[in-house]
Structures are given as C-alpha cells and as structure tokens.
Symmetry: C2
C-alpha cells in the first residue's frame, strides 16, 4: 500500500496536535501536583490543621440544624442567623482562644444590649426632634471612648474582641428605631442565639481533638530550648571541624546543617508566646495543667531563651572564622565541653518541662559546663602564652567568651525553670541519676541509679584542690534542687 | 461657758467622722487621678490614638444617618444594620488595614453570595428530603476547605478576613431557607449596605487625619536604627567610664541610662513590621510613596537591624565587666571611634530614610568606622604584647571583637538602604559633604561643602601606604552611591 503526501501531512498534523494536547495536559497535571504537594506538606507539618478544618465544618453543620428544626426556627426567627455568625467568628484553633472569644462575645452583647436599651429610653424623653440627635451623640461618645480603651495593653490583650462587640451591639440596639418592648424581645433572641453558637463552638473545640493553648505554650517553650540545644550540640563539631573524637564528644561535623538555622525562629517567637499565654489564661484545668497554671513564668523562660538565642546569633558569625590551628586545638576540649554540656542541660530541662518533673539530671550537666568554663581559664592562660600571633587568636577568644556567656544564660534558664517547677508543683522523680565528672581533676564521681536510694543527693567535696574552683560550685545547683 | 463631757464626746465623734469621710474622698480622688494620668500618658505617647477614637465615633455617627433618613431606610430595611456592622468591624487604625478589610469584606460577600445562591439552587433539585442534607454537606465541605486555606501563610497574611467573611456569607445564604428571588434581593441589599459601610470607613480613614501604614513602617524602621545608634553613641562613655575627652569624642557617661535599654524593643519588632508591610501593600500612592513602593525591602532592613540589636544584646552583658585599666586605655580610642562612628552612620542612614534622600554622608562615617576597625588591629597587637595578664583582658578583647561585628552589621544595613534608595528612587542631594579622616595616617582629607560643585565625589588614593588597608576601601561606598 502506498501512502500519499496528503495523508503524510495529515498524520503529521494529528501527531503534532496529539503532542500539543498531551503537553498541555502534562503541564496541568504538574501544576495540580504542586498545589497538592503544598497542601500535603501543610497538613503533614501539623495534622491538627486538617482536624481543625473538619471541626469547623462540623460545628457549622451542627449549628445549621438550628435552621432546619422548625420549632427552634419559629422561636428565634431571623435571629437564628446570629448563631451561624457566632460560630464562624468565635471558632478558633485553640480552646483558650475559642473560650475567650465566646466569653467576650456573650458578656459584651449582654452589657451593650442593656446599655443600648437604657440609652434608647433616655433619648425618647427628648421628643421626636431631639431623639436622633441625642442618640447620635451617645453613639459618638461610646464609640470614641470604647475605641480608645482598646489602646490599653491590658484590654488589648484579653478583651479586644469584647470591646468591638460592645460597640457593635450598642450601636445596633440604640439606633434600631424599634419600640422598647420589641427591642427587649430582639435582644433576648440575639443573646440566646449567640449563647447557643458559643456553646456549640466550645463543645466541639473541647470534646473533639482539643488543641489547648496552654499545652501549645508548654511544648513551644520546650521546643525552643531544644532548638538552642541543637545548635550548641553541633557547634563544637562545626567550629573545630576536625575528624576523630576528643574525650567523649565526637567532633565530626554534622552532615545536615539545618541545626545552624533552627534557633533563628526562637528570636521571633515573642508574639506567638504572648498570644498563647493570653489564650491559656481562659482555659479550665486540663490534662496536667491546673486552672491557674503559672503561664507568666513561661513568658519569662521564653524571654531568657531569646536572650540565649541572641548569643548564638553572635556566635554564629564566628563559625567560619580563621585562626591558628594550634591555639584552637588547645582550647577545643573545654569549648566543646561547654557547648555540649550546655546543650545537654537544655535538652534535660526541655524534657523536664515536657514530662513535668524536676530537672535533677540537668543540674549535673550544668555543673559540668560551669566546671569546663572554670577550667577554660587555666587552659586559655597557657594557650595564650604559647601562641605567637595574638592578633590571629582574637576570633577564637571571642568564641570562648561568648560560650561562657551561653553557659551563664543556660544557668539563668535553669533557675527560672526551677521556679516554674516550684510554682507548678512538678513531680520529683524518685531516684535521680547524678553524674558529676570533671576529666581534668583527679576525682571522677559517677553515681549510678542502682547505687542510691534517696530522692536528693548533695555532694560536697570537703577539701577542694585550690586550683580547681569549679568543683566547689558543684554542690550549689544540687542544693537548689532540694528546696 | 463650760463644756460638758457629752458635747466633748460628740465633737470628737463628728471630727473623726469628718476625717474619715475626707480620707475616703482623698483616696477616691487619688484613684481617679491615677487612671486619668494613665489615659493622659496613653494619649501623649501617640496623640493619633485620640484622633483615631474620634474618627471611629465620627464614622459610626455618619453611618447612623442611614437609619434616620427614611428613604434609605425604606429601600434597605433591616439590612441597613449591616452598614453599622461593617463600620465597626472594618474601621482600623491605619488606612491600609481599613482598605484591606473593606476590600476583603466586599469581594468575599459578593463571591460567597453568588456561590450560596448556586448551592441553594442545586440543593433544591434534590427534593424536600434531600435538600437539607445536601446543603449541610455543602456547608461542611466549604467551611472545612476554606478554614484549611487560612493556614497558607500567603492567604493568612492578606486574605484571612476575606476567607472568614466568605464562610460566613455562604452559610447565611445557603441555609437561610428563603426562595431564590427573595435571596437575590437580600443579597443585593446586603452587598450595597456593606459597600456603603466600607466607603464610609475608607472615606473617614483617608480624609480625616490619615494614618498610613506605609509611612508608619517607614518611620518605624528609621526609629529602630536610631535606637541602635543611641546605644552605640553612649556605649563608649559607659564602658570606658572615664572623665575628660579623648580625641574628638567626649567620654563622660550619660546621666540618663535609658539609651541602654531602648534597643531592646527592636528585638521584638518583627511582627509589627510584617503587619505594617502587609497593610502598606493595600495603600494607594500617598505623600512621598508610590503605589508599589518596595515595602519588602523595609522588612530586609528590619531583619538586619534586629541582627545588629542582637550584637548589642551580647555587647551589653560586658558593659560592667572588669579588666586592667591600662589595656582599656590603650584600645579605648579606636573602640570609641568604632562605636560612635557606627552610631553616626546609623543616624545618618535613618535621617536619609526619613528625608528620602541618598545617604552620602553616612558613607563617610562608615568609612571612618571601618578605618578604626582596621587601625584597631595594630593597636590591639601592641596593647596585647604590653599586657601582663592576658586572661584579664579577655572581656575587653571580646568587646572589641563584637564592635567589629557591629561595624560589619552597619555596613550591611547601609548596603540594603542603598538598595532601597535605588528601588524607591530616593532624591540625590545636590552637594554632599564628604569628610574622610583617619587620624592615624598622614593623610587627612577634609572637603567642605563650598569646595565642590559636583553631585558625586569619588576619592581614590593612588598609592596607599601598605600598612593601612582601611584607606583603600574608602572609595567603595562612594562609588556605590554613584550607581
């Protein structure tokens, strides 16, 4: 069979068309896949986002029933719409935020409704001409005063939404132009529907996979400390960048460098923490938290964590600095000890927060890091006297100096967590493991879990070698733990 | 006349009563005065707060007219209440926030209204039994999807309120139970009243003492740099703490120590800046800002300022550190120069932002601070070789090292402001004053305003003395300025 040029041409045309359509389809598929991936990642990062969305749908479908049940619809009329409105506006990600908004909305509607009816009554005394003018004046005065009150930090933090609803309801009631009997009926309907809406929100929010703002804050603070610990743990390997291991600390730099940046989110976590603390204050007792859990103390710890993260920020600019290898080798042991023991302290403190137990083992690591900071002085003195070019060692000296600051910061964090443990009555674990070690001294005290039966342990070395002041301080944090 | 014991007693009783009442009154007066003082301070800190409150009252009184004018009331009916609701919710402190909310509310109401009517039509096809079930399903699906979309950072930043109103309107329309004709009439009324409300807000917000988010951001960034400059300016006097003056810089520590803490607010300014930048993007061209002013560049500058503030935080922990006076005296000249010239650079950069002119004079100060950082190396070398106890000088060495970092930070800020100047087309001042000085070198170049006629000046020293690398770099920032 012979194939003519026309059929050749048309075959080519069809093929081109086919490929063009296929190309377009492929592009579309890629685009859809990208969006799907984005959505998937968003869901995977925090699956509670998906749960929250489903909960929102659930709460709204629930409240829609108000419309479908004729009896409720007949008694509430168009006001039933306020229940829907309330659910959309009040339902928030955390229980605390939902409770706060629901409370604000309910109380503000009640107060403003009562005040609005009063204003209406008062204005009606002024006659038909004076009434609108007087009402206009009332609206102006109340709106201006209430708006100004929103600038007070205390009101802004907890009652901002309430003030908004207060202005709203007062305006609606006072200018509505209804007679007072009709007004009171309306106000009653509106308040009931708002209460129904708020209760639906609170119910779904508390009983279907609840997200407690308090628990969020609790975990957030612990996570921030772990991020700082991550940096400090990896810092030694990254800065000294040598293979092999010195003492017990491996010096191989980590392959995944993300730990170098994770602490940065700590620097900007101020607003998140404040919001969570404000929401948490609305929450009833839940899981391991009482109603008046010391949320403010978390803000203090958060502030100290940010201070510590600031030191890391200063430290990170020296991570790739040059300098004589000889000098670095001399100080690397103590520096790595300081940074890794601080990291361990913070990790232990974070895990103490997570488990709500007193952080006994953290104090041992803190003591180790402080001992390393003390020993560093001796090491530095000899290292400095050996080095020929003092100018070249300045970056390394700065690093050690900043590490000492980090140790001091860690101690402050430990102290404030100790305060938290007292305020929130953290559990005391029965047998703490206390490992005190100082490789530069003749003493090496390692006490294992099976050796001790008492819940607290204070070690005091009676005649400390005068050259090692670090040892004297060892008992201090342990004493603190037995408060 | 004799006075009996009874009248004595009663006189004492009256006197006690009198003092008790007076005491109570005094307490009340004190309390009222305290609250009044608080309000006064809040108003004095930012008088625009009072203006905003008055504007809110004005906008609400304006919109209340909708109720009083019978013709408008007759055509809108109860829907007129949506105008009031819109004003209360949409009216915000800045023009950008008001515009963004108004736009979100209008567009979301329109879209969700149309979609709701469609859903209603579709559901009515399913018969009387199927309709509520189908509508419930629609509400669930849309509410869940829209709620999830609020977790996307891009949507959260600009369209969060719109998505909320979208869910709200869709639910109201789709479950309302009206016939379609009635629905369309209602939707039309609601949309018109919302548009009227939004326009009233936008009108008052733009034409009565407007507060532009863009201008706020602009000034906020400049203010943050001035706070950092404040610290650096005072740091020398505070750290070296000696009377008299060395070189050109006075060393008397400032009496008011508030400059030591002002920079701290910079550390937590991230959220404020991001919000302002989001609002600013809604704003039309105003005063000196175009519609597409490079607001993102401000966020970059803000981030660098925070980095710099972090260095100050590290620096501030050394402010009271001890150390040998001899060593300090040797380095104090260069240290004070670095810190005060950095302060001058930042002040000049801030004033360049405020006046929207290219920051020529800042480059000269930057060059001075970099020269001081270079000279410092020589000074440090000799100072270190002279000092007997190297361990004692470590805090002072760390301070110098951190100051060098601050200088580097300042340079980065200057670069990003240079970028901003190009993007936003800042004016070039006609005759810049360029003063290059380096007291440690033989060259001292001082060029006064009257000496030069050209708008740009590039100085290149042809044969730089090899020991002073700082001088070679002098021309760089000036070249950059002539781009």
């Amino acid at each position: 069979m012979e194939i003519g040029p026309e059929s050749h041409e048309s075959a080519g045309f069809i093929a081109r068309g086919w490929w063009w359509i296929m190309g377009l389809l492929m592009k579309l598929v890629t685009k859809v896949r990208n969006v799907a991936n984005k959505i998937k990642r968003l869901g995977q990062d925090d699956p509670r986002r998906i749960i929250h969305s489903v909960k929102m749908g659930l709460a709204l479908s629930l409240i829609s029933l108000v419309y479908y049940f004729r009896p409720t619809y007949d008694s509430f009329g168009v006001s039933a719409m306020w229940a829907v409105l309330t659910v959309v506006v009040v339902f928030e990600f955390t229980v605390g935020a939902t409770l706060g908004k629901g409370f604000n909305r309910g109380v503000a509607t009640f107060l403003a409704g009562a005040l609005g009816v009063g204003a209406h009554q008062l204005a009606s005394l002024a006659g038909q001409e004076g009434e609108p003018m007087l009402l206009g004046l009332f609206v102006f005065l109340l709106a201006a005063t209430a708006s100004f009150s929103r600038f007070f930090p205390e009101i802004k933090a907890r009652y901002d939404y309430g003030v908004l609803i207060f202005i709203l309801t007062f305006c609606l009631v006072s200018v509505s132009g209804y007679r007072v009997e009709k007004l009171i009926e309306l106000a009653h309907q509106r308040l009931s529907t708002i209460l129904i809406g708020s209760f639906a929100c609170v119910f779904v929010s508390i009983f279907v996979y609840p997200v407690w703002a308090g628990e969020e804050l609790h975990n957030h603070i612990a996570l921030n400390m772990e991020k700082i610990a991550d940096f400090l743990e990896g810092f030694g390997g990254e800065y000294f960048d040598t293979e092999g291991s010195v003492g017990e600390t491996s010096l191989v730099p980590k392959k995944d460098k993300s730990f170098l940046d994770r602490y940065k989110s700590v620097l900007n976590s101020n607003t998140t923490e404040e919001n969570l603390a404000n929401f948490a204050r609305w929450e009833p007792c839940h899981a391991r938290f009482r109603f008046r859990h010391p949320w403010k103390q978390y803000l203090k710890i958060g502030g100290l964590s940010r201070q510590c993260a600031c030191r890391l920020e200063a430290l990170s600019s020296y991570i790739n600095s040059e300098g004589p290898q000889e000098f670095r080798k001399n100080i690397q042991d103590e520096c790595i000890k300081m940074s890794s023991e601080s990291a361990k302290t913070l990790t232990e403190l974070a895990s103490a927060i997570r488990t709500m137990t007193r952080p006994h083992s953290a104090y041992a690591h803190l003591a180790n890091s402080k001992a390393a900071a003390s020993n560093l002085k001796v090491t530095l003195k000899s290292a400095l006297s050996l080095s020929s070019d003092l100018l070249q060692v300045i970056p390394a000296v700065t690093v050690t100096s900043l590490l000492v600051e980090v140790v001091a910061c860690t101690e402050k964090i430990a102290e404030s967590i100790d305060e938290l443990a007292q305020l929130a009555k953290f559990k005391t674990v029965e047998v703490p493991i206390v490992i005190l070690e100082n490789p530069k001294t003749l003493h090496r005290v390692t006490i294992k879990k099976s050796d001790i039966k008492c819940p607290q342990l204070v070690i005091t070395i009676e005649e400390p070698p005068p050259s090692l002041p670090g040892n004297i301080k060892l008992s201090k944090p342990l004493e603190k733990a037995s408060h």
